[in-house]
């Protein structure tokens, strides 16, 4: 089987959810049919993502969208990092979708399902696009797709509370997108391209001060999305008011898209970066400040939002170490955190459903009401805190080992900060557990829970996946390591996108080849007329622009 024949599968994670969104909009009056369409669409994408993960073992997979050549046209690239993120994110999205099927039956969390399903699918398409794209401007478009979808989801029902929290979220997101756009203008002005592979080639050739300025701008833009201190304040303010499945998918995916973009910036785009120390300092402060916030909370959803902020610091720490081991641990930790954090938010949704509140002061006796829920909360809680031998422990161990191997004072400070954060995470989550599950309930009217099996099933699936991540930690860790090697080497990515360092596969030809016979830069591209069929890699362009 030749991977080159299968590049079209890269389009599916973006196209199928969009098609599904269109169909679910048409079926707005038939909720059951809507659910079937969404389920089928996301299942196709999940199978496709696993297939992409399999194909990416042999090196980055490239799709020139519409057959247009790389620096001018948009390229979709699936290297191991993208493929792993795609697999995990689509799996989580599917679980949350199943969980949300019966949300509309909950009294206090009614979802307008007609809007929910299409928007949810568009969010999934945006996330997939952000993970797969090999073009910085397309990354911006992917961000906007997922952001606009998230705006609708966070203000579902437009109640007073949701509009209030949604306002903060929307304004912060718009500002961060604007910063990203400014950075894009700077990239194009300085480098004459927005193709990531070409940026990677040219970044070392320009003035290093300019390169660093661009890098800092990108870091700020992605830092807002990833909720890094001091740009994190919007997150605990806005996430908790949304319905449980929405908060869960936001917590799992949206911040990680920011982390993914930071990893790309630090490795693929600007490999000789000297921002690593800055990243580590921000990682340390994010960990500590986030977990301090979590300890102070007495609302389960807000508490989880703060742990989310805190554990973003771990991923920054891994990227900031700047070694292969550090990057490997960061990638593994990101995958682990997506699953575990989403599982915790889904469990908190179940707790709200059974106990009628998210306030830890009001919740109580849940262990008596529903013992299974106590277990479902405790497993991801231990995993997040990093109790051996769970995947959280393995990720943290990887980070600590990588830091110890480098051994600068800042690295040891991070080790100390990381251990303290893990301890406080355990404290905060166990306190929440004992308050919600053990303390006597204020009123004894807590009856037998009536929870639809889809909600329980989806939560169990995610908790099981987090345990699976522990069980198969060896292969997954080595896959992440392969991804880190690929990222640090930079060449596999660049060569795959631009085989001769100037032009990609697909069809388009430079004006130079047509008239002067010398290559020019992408700033004066001449593209083929519409309808020209794409040709096999490295085929010589047709003179005159007509086949």
């Amino acid at each position: 089987m030749n991977p080159d024949d299968w590049t079209w599968v890269l389009g599916i994670p973006v196209l199928v959810p969009f098609a599904g969104a269109a169909f679910t909009l048409l079926l707005a009056r038939a909720p059951a049919a809507q659910r079937v369409v969404s389920l089928v669409a996301l299942t196709i994408v999940l199978l496709d993502a696993v297939f992409i993960g399999f194909l990416s073992l042999r090196g980055p997979l490239i799709l020139d969208v519409g057959g247009w050549a790389a620096p001018v046209g948009i390229t979709l690239v699936a290297d191991r990092l993208s493929a792993l993120m795609l697999m995990v994110s689509v799996f989580v999205t599917l679980c949350v979708l199943v969980y949300s099927f019966t949300q509309d039956l909950a009294e206090n969390q009614r979802l307008p399902i007609a809007v929910f399903q299409p928007t949810f699918l568009i969010l999934s398409a945006g996330v997939s696009n952000a993970f797969l794209t090999g073009d910085l401007f397309n990354l911006y478009v992917g961000f906007e797709i997922l952001l606009v979808a998230s705006f609708v989801l966070i203000t579902l029902g437009s109640t007073r509370e949701r509009i209030r929290s949604g306002t903060v979220y929307v304004i912060v997101s718009v500002v961060s997108s604007t910063i990203f756009l400014i950075a894009l203008a700077m990239v194009y002005a300085a480098l004459g391209t927005v193709n990531m592979a070409q940026i990677a080639i040219r970044a070392s050739e320009i003035d290093q001060g300019t390169a660093q300025l661009i890098q800092v701008m990108l870091f700020v833009a992605f830092g807002v999305k990833a909720a890094i201190f001091p740009l994190h304040a919007w997150l605990p303010d806005s996430y908790p008011t949304a319905p449980a499945p929405v908060t869960a998918v936001f917590a799992g995916l949206l911040t990680k898209v920011g982390i993914y973009a930071i990893i790309r910036t630090q490795t693929t785009l600007f490999s000789n970066s000297n921002l690593n120390g800055v990243l580590q300092v921000f990682g340390l402060v994010t960990m500590i400040v986030g977990i301090m916030g979590a300890v102070a909370q007495d609302d389960i959803k807000r508490l989880l939002s703060f742990t989310l902020v805190s554990h973003i610091g771990f991923m920054l720490w891994g990227v900031g170490i700047g070694t292969l081991e550090g990057l490997t641990a960061a990638i593994f930790y990101t995958a682990h955190h997506i699953i575990v954090q989403t599982a915790l938010f889904l469990v908190s949704g179940l707790m709200e459903r059974v106990g009628g509140s998210t306030s830890l002061v009001r919740l109580g006796s849940l262990l008596k009401t529903w013992p299974l829920l106590g277990v479902l909360f405790l497993i991801p809680a231990f995993n997040l805190a990093g109790i051996p031998p769970m995947s959280g422990f393995l990720g943290k161990l990887g980070l600590i080992e990588a830091s110890a191997a480098v051994g600068r004072p800042l690295d040891w400070a991070l080790v100390a900060g990381g251990l303290l954060t893990s301890l406080l995470t355990l404290y905060a989550l166990l306190r929440a557990w004992s308050m919600a599950f053990w303390q006597p309930s204020e009123d004894d009217e807590v009856g037998k829970p009536q929870v639809p099996w889809t909600m329980t099933g989806a939560t169990i699936a995610l908790v099981a996946a987090s345990l699976g991540l522990t069980l198969f930690a060896g292969p997954i860790y080595s896959y992440a390591r392969g991804g880190a090697i690929e990222l640090r080497a930079q060449a596999p990515y660049v060569v795959a996108v631009l085989p001769d360092a100037e032009r990609g596969t697909g069809q388009s030809h430079t004006e130079a080849e047509e008239e002067q016979g010398t290559p020019t830069t992408s700033s004066t591209p001449v593209v083929p007329p519409l309808g020209t069929p794409s040709q096999s890699p490295t085929s010589s362009p047709t003179p005159g622009g007509a086949p």
């Binding site: 009294e107 206090n108 606009v148 209030r164 306002t167 002061v361």
Partner: protein
């Protein structure tokens, strides 16, 4: 290749638009924020356009000499950014209208939960909660456990209870 040095007039335009927009975004009224965000977005759009160099002829073969062509790539990007900006502005306006419908104004409000916790911390009050089977709150237990303070003059500890500003259980949001 056309000249790629930026035009000063455009640069000033970008500066003024982004500067005014920033001031407006820092306001509390949502409609001003919408205007501010739009100003910033349009300023940045001009900036992206500047990144492609000076204006030139239409980039169509046979119509313009290659040396005089404008760079079409930033134009394509700006078109995308304009469409996105339009959608965002529309959404923010809807939100401002909804806020006005709900509250009679369009001001961005503080997070009440955030303030409640900050107030509780300022008062140094322990949340009223029962931690074991005795049924006593932390405050009550502390009074029993630390009996070395018995000899000391009693301090009047006000009985502070956390505010309950959430709607009753199961009620509409």
């Amino acid at each position: 290749m056309i000249d790629v040095s930026p035009s000063l007039a455009l640069l000033v335009l970008v500066g003024v638009m982004v500067g005014c927009g920033t001031v407006l975004v820092l306001e509390r009224s949502l409609s001003r924020i919408v205007i501010g965000a739009s100003l910033i977005t349009y300023g940045v759009n001009v900036m992206v356009l500047m990144a492609g160099g000076r204006a030139g002829g239409p980039p169509i073969i046979g119509q313009t000499e290659v040396a005089d062509m404008a760079d079409p790539l930033p134009q394509a990007m700006v078109l995308t950014a304009i469409v996105i900006g339009l959608a965002l502005t529309a959404f923010m306006l809807t939100m401002a209208y909804r806020t006005w419908q709900l509250n009679g104004n369009d001001e961005v409000q503080d997070d009440r939960e955030d303030r409640r916790i900050a107030l509780a911390a300022a008062r140094d009050a322990v949340a009223e909660r029962v931690t074991d089977d005795s049924g006593a709150t932390l405050d009550e237990q502390a009074a029993i456990v630390f009996d070395e303070t018995e000899d000391m003059p009693a301090i009047d500890v006000p009985d502070v209870k956390p505010e309950r500003d959430q709607p009753p259980r199961g009620g509409p949001q």
